[in-house]
Symmetry: D4
Subunit: 163 residues, 8 copies
Amino acid sequence: MKVLIITGSDSDLSVMKEAAEVLEEFGVEYEMTISSAHRSPERTKELVEKAKRDGVKVIIAGAGMAAHLAGAVAADFPLPVIGVPLQSGILKGMDAFLSTIQMPPGVPVATVAINGAKNAGLLAVQILAISDKQLEQRLMDYKKKLANDIWKKSEKLRRITRA
Amino acid sequence: MKVLIITGSDSDLSVMKEAAEVLEEFGVEYEMTISSAHRSPERTKELVEKAKRDGVKVIIAGAGMAAHLAGAVAADFPLPVIGVPLQSGILKGMDAFLSTIQMPPGVPVATVAINGAKNAGLLAVQILAISDKQLEQRLMDYKKKLANDIWKKSEKLRRITRA
Amino acid sequence: MKVLIITGSDSDLSVMKEAAEVLEEFGVEYEMTISSAHRSPERTKELVEKAKRDGVKVIIAGAGMAAHLAGAVAADFPLPVIGVPLQSGILKGMDAFLSTIQMPPGVPVATVAINGAKNAGLLAVQILAISDKQLEQRLMDYKKKLANDIWKKSEKLRRITRA
Amino acid sequence: MKVLIITGSDSDLSVMKEAAEVLEEFGVEYEMTISSAHRSPERTKELVEKAKRDGVKVIIAGAGMAAHLAGAVAADFPLPVIGVPLQSGILKGMDAFLSTIQMPPGVPVATVAINGAKNAGLLAVQILAISDKQLEQRLMDYKKKLANDIWKKSEKLRRITRA
Amino acid sequence: MKVLIITGSDSDLSVMKEAAEVLEEFGVEYEMTISSAHRSPERTKELVEKAKRDGVKVIIAGAGMAAHLAGAVAADFPLPVIGVPLQSGILKGMDAFLSTIQMPPGVPVATVAINGAKNAGLLAVQILAISDKQLEQRLMDYKKKLANDIWKKSEKLRRITRA
Amino acid sequence: MKVLIITGSDSDLSVMKEAAEVLEEFGVEYEMTISSAHRSPERTKELVEKAKRDGVKVIIAGAGMAAHLAGAVAADFPLPVIGVPLQSGILKGMDAFLSTIQMPPGVPVATVAINGAKNAGLLAVQILAISDKQLEQRLMDYKKKLANDIWKKSEKLRRITRA
Amino acid sequence: MKVLIITGSDSDLSVMKEAAEVLEEFGVEYEMTISSAHRSPERTKELVEKAKRDGVKVIIAGAGMAAHLAGAVAADFPLPVIGVPLQSGILKGMDAFLSTIQMPPGVPVATVAINGAKNAGLLAVQILAISDKQLEQRLMDYKKKLANDIWKKSEKLRRITRA
Amino acid sequence: MKVLIITGSDSDLSVMKEAAEVLEEFGVEYEMTISSAHRSPERTKELVEKAKRDGVKVIIAGAGMAAHLAGAVAADFPLPVIGVPLQSGILKGMDAFLSTIQMPPGVPVATVAINGAKNAGLLAVQILAISDKQLEQRLMDYKKKLANDIWKKSEKLRRITRA
């Protein structure tokens, strides 16, 4: 397993599974589980210890509100931790945003947009690609596909407006 | 020792010592130490375990930025945890504010104003006073003194403006 | 009665009753009533005076918008006051948030998250537990249950994803 | 006395005296005093009761942070209450802003800009002018002076840039 | 006519009519019309000139987004102008809020809460009451009714919870 | 004269003159004056009427706080109005920002960054350049100079770090 | 073709077509297409190069979230670029707002309100009108129509309230 | 060279050099240069093309205000891009924050705290460490040092307070 996805609550699975889908699309081994920094601190710690033993390269952690999960993981894990601030609760994720990204010097969390689980998956792929030429090639193909999709949509728009 | 004060960084001691001063003023035993949720997670955990063994009643935790310290302590400690969001960094404490208070259901942190270490100390005294009539009496005297100070200041203002 | 819950408006009862439910779950005596700092200031003052006479240990006050209720109570009550900023109105509770927590030195309000009535109830239990070993034990059991719930949910997720 | 100015703390006098200066400039009788909604709630209540007996027409209340002073006064006073949110503390007055203006239906506070004590004084004069033709005339003269000052400054700029 | 209500757009009438309802409840003569600071600047100016000639005492102006209406009126009108920031558009009224209240020294706008049209009406009544004892008495009765309503609701709650 | 610059207060001249400097650099005729939407509304109106008669093509308006100047000008002027929100006051220009840009449908203001007077000047040049090939060429040269300055600075950095 | 409208995503077409509708209403030739600064950077660059060759006078660019489209276009295009921050995503357009307007000195983007596509179209017309008297006349007629619409609505209100 | 650091302006070098210092401390080859997304778009594009040819593994991009640099780089670069929002300008970096992190699905930027250049350097090291056991070991040692520093500071505090 290369990537571990931890989500702070089962109510966030619908967003966080977008990270898993990207990893599957790129053929990257991963596991997805649930643990909370506040409600199951020991389980969180054990998951990180196991990830270290298992040779996990990247951990993706998604949480809402006072989103400490990514930070708690980054406190123990020496390799990259990607934080996904989730839009749960009344403040629409601004709380999770600041709780995830404003880490003190010495303990970074690579943060993506609010609910940006898809980009968290892609970032994990990009990180793995630094030592995997095949993955890097697929990322370049992915970029071409993104541009191509835009081109197709604008062609469609052109045909409609000229019709 | 009744109260443990943990501050996330030695640069925050000048603010957090106001909590200590209040406890001394009210004659409450306390200890003050430094530990970070992110840079010394194991030390933080050990401090909480020791506090439980020593019969500590209230923990006051002050931290800035992605202020996870109070939350990390509250994850392990069953009695009241008071969080002081600190104004370190560029966002002036709004990050610490939301990181401290927006805790998930099940794990409360009693949060005070940004840099509100003095009120954190007072809140700890109020909590101890629920089973200590002498402390409760001192809190009532303290309230009278607050009102009296205002009265003195307004008297002084009246003399100046009438002079 | 150990805890008094005051809610600023009957429209907030559906949120504030979560505090009451926690107190019932832990077997703590409480009373719940309605009073506004602005629309019924004398009633609010009388409720606090009666609470002092009755030996109430903790007051929980929930209000929205310019949420002065907790602060008005804390001005008169010497023991812990827990403030619950409520998400009524257009600013989604950020107004109630700042109005509740940014108290001046000398008059603390132990503030919880926006709409965090459940945690307000738990915090009241934690405060009472400092002199009630049985209550402290129940809080430790509650923490175990929180962790266990997470474990069950992640087990369920594991079975689904492996199926 | 027509206008009562209450300021929540002596540290705010330097801002709040701008309200007094406007009242003096327009020849309106006033008194200025200090009282806090949280630290001297009974004094605040007594000041309002005395103002009612003395026939005060407008109360100006200035406070910072969780600025409840204007709201507490408005809860008891039936005539206009003008609130001045003050820029004390770390949040630069945004807390005082929302705490002063977001009053519930039934209890208005006429709020001015952060630190807008001068405009609070002017608003009090405008209110008194609804039944005082002389005061209304002075307000119209004041408007002309404002426009004239701008004209003079732009003339000066024109002479400089053409020189 | 004592009070003129101007609303910036017909889409805001449903909110602004709450001001009119309060004035009717208190028996205050008023007129309500539509004019925009940006789309009909001349009409706005003429309305203010006419109001001055007709002896209008208070103008209430409600607008959303870059809400300049109250400010534009206050630039020309020497007596009290009450501004109601309206929650139209995407920023939920925070834009209207700051555009209405942050007036420069010399030109106050008495601002109420976002969508606070009811309180704008009440504030107009309070202003008129400074020289109308009957109106002042009705405001004192209104305060009693507010407190009484709270008492009734809490009685109802008490009966329910005890049932 | 092609461009009229209006600044709401003489205290803002130090920022607004950056717009004038750009116009001079590009050889565009302009005039700069002072007028306030709130303190000299008639002067503001007359300036716009005169600008229409004089064939002014673009008006740049800079103001702080409840910055209505650009909007008031745009209400009367049919050609482009550029708004510069200024950082005066306690809210650091966020109030001027929203007051300037959040204009209702039908009355646009071309808004630049807070204190962005230099870019306001450049935008005026760009607008004039749509029918002035020489000006367009100078703008293309200006772009090259911007890129060249960056290149020089990075060369300097390279020499330092390699030294 | 005088105006090029680029929208960052096909999901934003429903908002951005309001700009196109205004251009059609004023008889201005335009083209509308889709391109993203991040997903199709080369296409975006080519569109700008083609616009320069085709003599396009104004480019309108609308994008949401980290809205770089207008800035990326302005980096290459020497004539006016109008930016429309779009309300896509969780932060309701505040991200797009700041990403579009806070351009560095040297590269202005004429920014309109969030979702202000209609005003973007009008601003483009105003820019073209600086050298097109007929267009200027139509803009003056448009202003009259705006004022007239308000007058009609207030007449309707008057009839209703008097009925 | 493994890491390329691009800073948007020479005025940001004092902050961005902290990233360089971390890379040096961990013995990672890097180069640091200046380029702007808006003022030198072609240079930025060429730097990315050269980085791809040279086998650069991670690009760190720091910029302020409408901080498009990291996003512009990420549009072209298939491997990890780390964005550092810088606190230049009046909004203290909140603009750079949102402009850097709120990237659309498909193009992630690994964002760190405002001015978090040191953590950007560390994150680059962590990314390289996924295929470099020696670097991973150094990161584990670094974590121990962080914890040890805290311990030393708390020891010092203990000696002071006990003295």
